[in-house]
Amino acid sequence: MSSKRIVVIGGGPAGMQAALSLAAGGLKPVIVERAGELGGKLKEWHRLFPSMTEANEVLTRLTGEIAEAGVEVMLHTEVEGIALGEGGAHDGAPNGVVLAEGKKLPAGAVIVASGFDIFDARQKEEYGYHVYDNVFTTVDIERMLNGDKVALSDGTAPRRIAFVHCVGSRDEKVNQRHCSKVCCITAVKQAMELRERFPEAEIYSFYMDIRMFGPGYEELYQQAQQESHINFIRGRVSEASPTIDGRIQIKAEDTLVGRPLKMSVDMVVLAVGMKAAAGNEKLAASCDGLSLAPSGFLAPRDMFTGCVSSGAAGVFYAGTATAPKTIGECIAEGAMAAQRAAEYLKSGAKR
């Protein structure tokens, strides 16, 4: 029986979709989720780019289907590592996962959908996150949008807002060389949402490159420029400091004219990147064949036909455990990982 069971580590969009696809194929998925409910970071999001769909709509659709399919869910449960030993699909193959206190959860295959961590903006000390009151992250803004309370710390409306791209991405200084991919479009989306709330505000966006890789993204960017009057300035903000009237002065180079620039703003929004999950290292160490990319994300077997496979038979990946991804990409990978896991079990060991 346990060989038909598949453990899905993580109950975010990728994990939920993986479980749904497995259940639809007649297999027995069990989602092991660290938090007290399903949804991952989607729970904290307000609207999704580029369609401005409510995050809750996607979330409830997935959780509703999970409930309907009767997928087994273990909440408040941490996974310590992949379990090895007898009873797997073949000798030496993973036979489940190890939970807290060495408890074992037997399974025929494992799908790792454990997600990412949000970059801690305090590490970019020069931006003064948690030092100055009105420096926020894009995560804070989603939360504020969700509560319908976007305002400065004193409750007033900002008159000038600056978004700072690439906070914790493309930055050797904080050991995050990779591009987090979704932050550009997130910042564009949020700038437009803030424009709706603050029609009179000046809104600036400081970027190094604007990476609009998805369908409708470039169009949204153009709309942000032309209709929402977001001023995009190409240059990385070097520092934030307090002004005498309680605002924040930022400095950057306007690289398109080759001159330094400074301005004071009421609100700074740091577009924080996706960081490899802290648990990746421990997970990779628990099983031969699992390895980390230099970025700290889990390394898939290859980036083309094996993007949801690991180097270990019976262990599959889905979602942001392997790299920054959009919700749509995570869900696609969830379905694909489920299919690969099912094939694996059917073929009785071969990958």
């Binding site: 030092v131 400091s241 307090p242």
Partner: protein
Amino acid sequence: MKRSSWKEYEKEIADDHYYYARSCIRQNFFPGSETTFLRIMREALGKDIYDDPRHTSCTGIGYHSDIVPLDTTMAVVARQFALMTEAGYENIAISCITSFGLYTEILETWHEFPETEARARENLFKATGREFRKPANIAHTSDIVFHNREVIAAQAVRKLVNAETGAPLNIVEHIGCHYAKIFPKSGIGGSEFPYVLAGMVEEWGGRVVDYPERRHCCGFGFRNYIVQANRGFSIANSRKKLESMAPYKPDMMVANCPGCAMFLDKWQYAIAEMENVTYGADGRGIPVLTYEEMAGLVLGYDPWDMGMQMHQVDTEQVLQKMGVRYDPAAKFLGRAGKFIGAPAAAAVNTFSGDRIYRIKT
């Protein structure tokens, strides 16, 4: 501002038995500050510190001006370590920020590239026959004063407050670039929110001014002021800071770098003479103190004993605010009561209502 992040950048500072490495230029521009440091160490804190007449310049100015090659600089620094070793000390207390940065940089280089250490040892031995042990602890002297700020506060004769109103003095702190911008971990509070001087100011009752250009360089920059034609952008950097801090009406500045203290002080004179602009709230310049002078005033030392008559911007305004009793007539009297000469009047020290820097809004 929440200054809690400085605790992530604390470092080991030795408690006693220091070998003192003096600065070249401080002895000219703020000649009493190093004497005051030794007095604080010995009298107020009861520490053992060895002031070695044999040690020399670290070559920092020459090194940063591309005049002295790195190998030479390493050999000179190796010699200071040899003198320290011979004197039986292993904790080095460095008076100059650039020396501190240079010693730190060299120790780091030796660590990363051991062959450079071997070469420095060989060069030193060939040239002088000396050998050395690397210091067990390296600290800037402002680190040591910071380390003992509570002990000094306990002995305080007065605080950094306006004696009449009891209000804390508004104090601009300025950290030398070579203190923590080379290695953030080598400075208390790191490079973005350094706490070494802010900690003293807060401990002794003052209020730290956080102004937009707090992190900006004073403009010293070695080559930039050494060559006369380049001084325009050296002075422009000090002006940028002065314009940024003026709206906060600071009562004084305090710096931990020889060059910064000198330039923030003396460029005010130059700007006043060139453009007829001053930055103090009362139409005069803003006094610039060293942290030893600031500590000395707290401990009740006589300002003229500390060499405060050598400042370009008169310090009397701060002394009066703090309620320091001093003898105005003794300002320019030397050791044996002999008159040492007084400077000519300067625009930066003469009140003029129309000269105040107009705060642009």
